[in-house]
Symmetry: C2
Subunit: 385 residues, 2 copies
Amino acid sequence: MIFPKTSLNLSGERFGVRYRIVAGDENEARARAHGICLEQTVEVPDELLADDDIRAEVVGRIEDLRAVSAGRFEVEISYAVETSAFELTQLLNVVFGNTAMQPGIRVLHLDLPDGLLRRFPGPRFGQDGIRDLLDVHDRSLLCTALKPVGLSASDLADLAYQIALGGIDIIKEDHGFNDQPFAPFRERVERCAEAIARANRQSGYRCLYAPHVTAPADQVSKRAHEAKSLGASALMIAPGLAGWDAVRMLAADDDLALPILSHPAWLGTFVLDPDQGVSHEVIFGQLPRLAGADATIFVNYGGRFTFSQDDCAGIVAGAARPMGDYPTIFPIPSGGMDLSRLPEMYEFYGRDGVFLIAGGLYAHGPDLLQSSREFRRAVEKLSHQ
Amino acid sequence: MIFPKTSLNLSGERFGVRYRIVAGDENEARARAHGICLEQTVEVPDELLADDDIRAEVVGRIEDLRAVSAGRFEVEISYAVETSAFELTQLLNVVFGNTAMQPGIRVLHLDLPDGLLRRFPGPRFGQDGIRDLLDVHDRSLLCTALKPVGLSASDLADLAYQIALGGIDIIKEDHGFNDQPFAPFRERVERCAEAIARANRQSGYRCLYAPHVTAPADQVSKRAHEAKSLGASALMIAPGLAGWDAVRMLAADDDLALPILSHPAWLGTFVLDPDQGVSHEVIFGQLPRLAGADATIFVNYGGRFTFSQDDCAGIVAGAARPMGDYPTIFPIPSGGMDLSRLPEMYEFYGRDGVFLIAGGLYAHGPDLLQSSREFRRAVEKLSHQ
């Protein structure tokens, strides 16, 4: 059968997705690209469609296709903005829903028009907003993580106090912290927030505290509000676990209005195989920013993970390239860093990086307060040399 | 520094994760496995831990490690159930949170003790419950999808009417259907539910209708309830987009109490590279079931995707192997199937498969009602031969 002929009254506005496709030659690449155009929209063979607006407007459109290296082609496909239903979950669905099951196709870049970007709140703070909260405008920022899972709330609060007093700008929780019996969420957040506030009063610093609020679907918002009411000054959430739109929900919440750190847990598989999945730029740059995160945590090159310098440069690009009127967000490289890496990190990320050293800070010496002060002095020195 | 020595009062109950690790020799495999034990829990180097319960109980424990082929090792690692906080998001976090960023490590299988499984609702219906709703106990089930995106609600309702009258058991919506202007959610669900109910009254069948309720994080539950109030008799959701716990939330909702179909959108990347990510069995079998889905949609071998027979057998195993007192759920192979594939599908999946033919049903002939009847007769014949 042929589907009923349909007239639509679409805006004509389209968004673009750049894919890299593995194919033997340009004909095969074009056939695979055409397959994406159908798969991501109507999901029926071409010949079942009437000669109508569905075929002309709803089906994805190949805007550009070119060979980039042996057996690799880049194709730009555009989709009517209306297919996204102006919802983040559905936008991602159009970008890569079923095509994620096809080998040899990678999402490289999203090109979203201003009209579509305005349907989402975007980052509330971004780099400038976080700098304003900290009142730090002239140097790279410092971040560390509360560790380890298993410690009591009061032991964690003791660590948080020393770190904050030592001059670290942002204390995030390990992403393994949730509502475990070792250190239940409410008690932990209350004690740590109190300890950091006490340190801030003594030091004059404005250390931010970001509890981890990834939670069951019906409790994310509640836990974020609890965190705020208990004294949290930022939030951390893992979109790979909670879903991307949970980040958007928190970012859109005017009663929260706290900076959001996006954590990479459960997202790694998307980037590891360069011929499949989704690029570092999109997963750790564009998507967190689109979802409204103000900073994106990822693993730095040369640590205990295997991201390359190019991968990390892609993430910085996704965090910083023009994207409607969304602010630039902070890249937070981490994962096996220590103080000896700071000069190199500074050279690569510059003043607009947040350097997350966690295990390496605890391991740096016997006195956490002194180690934190040393971390702070090192970053100040690099930023002002 | 060394972290404070900690006494915990853990239950001793542990859950297991089987990983496959790429390594040159057993020593390297053991080192990588030990890395997982730390990364997925305390996320600090061993030497910073006191000789305490955190080291003995919280850090993952290598229970078994053996070579399975050249350069490939399987390791069973156990974790204290308390690390999961008895929340699905955090359980997944412990299974693969940061390790997903390490190349050459794949999650093969989850081994969850009854005590942990009982913390989640599990599938409310499973295979038996869906068969009871349909009053069909002696044959494989039939499923198709409403298509394509772009059609109006009333055109879709016309298609749904013919399909239901033709004897298809389950009509799901394409996962591209959301709340687009072409066919807004409320209007679409109301019209399609009405059309299917009308067909059921005429035919005496009990065709189920599963609208797609993947939605923004704060609207999933609302949309599911709307769907039910408008006449939906099942629900479809894509955990890759909405988050796994959104499925759990719907499954736990006694006021909904509808069968849930899990859709694979955005999950494909996890399975494509056999040395990384997560196995087919876990992603399309164990996780949907753990989250409470009653049926799991995936792409069949030999269609327009590239899953192998072994991959599909793994999914069936994940849907059917003993898992506490959770019921067996239905595998729903799909993705480029047509009626000519039915004998082979029947041979492979047997009576306890749900055969999803969508594009192939529309393409089968000019009359959708006749094509649906033919699909029904073919499955009845296979099941009773």
